[in-house]
């Protein structure tokens, strides 16, 4: 499947509503547990996605499009959300994520990017030269991966409850060594 900004937008625009349907008003028993130390709960994931809106995808897109003398991205802080969201409710984070995402997509689509702009490059602190197409493609996959993570982490809370079914429920044994 080739990259197409309209198709990418079809995913990016739906992520807030998807997570909202899954998580709004959900009891803490489902949203606070994680998969182990340094891994994310559902609550953490929404914070991490907000961090992405504020510090990752669009700021890096702007660096690439500006084509300045030093198109290097700022390193990304995977744990920025921890201190940021200490006093927050999950519902308020869902609201904030939806607002930030809508604004970012409006901006992105408003630029009417040309195919050749998607080939412009920036400098990722660990990956080296990357194109705007790759960055926007990674944004889509990143969303989907974190939805997968949220449901996986929730599922694992019922690992013992589901008992003998574990053999038929691969989500329970995905990421036995967690990567968040």
């Amino acid at each position: 499947m080739n990259f197409d900004l309209r198709l990418a937008n079809q995913v990016l625009a739906r992520t807030p509503a998807t997570l909202d349907a899954l998580l709004r008003d959900q009891p803490d028993a489902w949203t606070q547990p994680n998969e182990g130390p340094e891994t994310f709960s559902a609550f953490d994931v929404i914070g991490h996605l907000i961090d992405g809106e504020e510090t990752d995808w669009m700021p890096r897109t702007k660096i690439i499009l500006a084509q300045g003398p030093d198109p290097r991205f700022e390193p990304y802080d995977r744990f920025r959300h921890r201190a940021r969201n200490k006093e927050r409710t999950l519902n308020s984070l869902l609201d904030e994520f939806a607002r930030l995402r809508a604004t970012n997509l409006e901006t992105l689509l408003g630029w009417d990017l040309l195919a050749e702009q998607l080939e412009l490059r920036g400098q990722h602190p660990r990956l080296g030269a990357v194109t705007l197409r790759e960055l926007l493609g990674a944004w889509v996959v990143h969303d989907l991966g974190h939805i997968a993570q949220v449901v996986r982490v929730m599922a694992k809370q019922y690992r013992d409850v589901a008992g003998p079914w574990i053999a038929f429920l691969p989500v329970l044994t995905d990421h036995e060594t967690p990567r968040s």
Copy 2:
């Protein structure tokens, strides 16, 4: 986390809306591809979940609660949906799944099951004796696992697009040997 029917319902009741937010009106490019032979596309997953409503979770619950002389479950046909849904649109399947699930949960909650009823057993064709608690727990995990599958299958369509980010996007390398 212990099994609690209200908490289980908090997940089961949200699955239709979660998948609706992700998939309604989504172009076929996102909903038709799968992970390889004998694996499910997003379209297939909704059909499989409908099969679960019609032939798996509630029929088996009823067999357990009836405590008849032979509490054996019917074997489950993982590919029933293929012939059933040949002419269907994804949107119509999303509608049907939501209706079936709502009806099933209304019935289930209407029974006001007692804790001791959750310990009643049926006979699974491959797993042997299983309790109602385990069956209902497996239902929750099954939903979450199939949401994870849908987003994983979608993500993999952008494996090449995301290019160098693959190292940071574990969803792209989950289930390299697909299990659906």
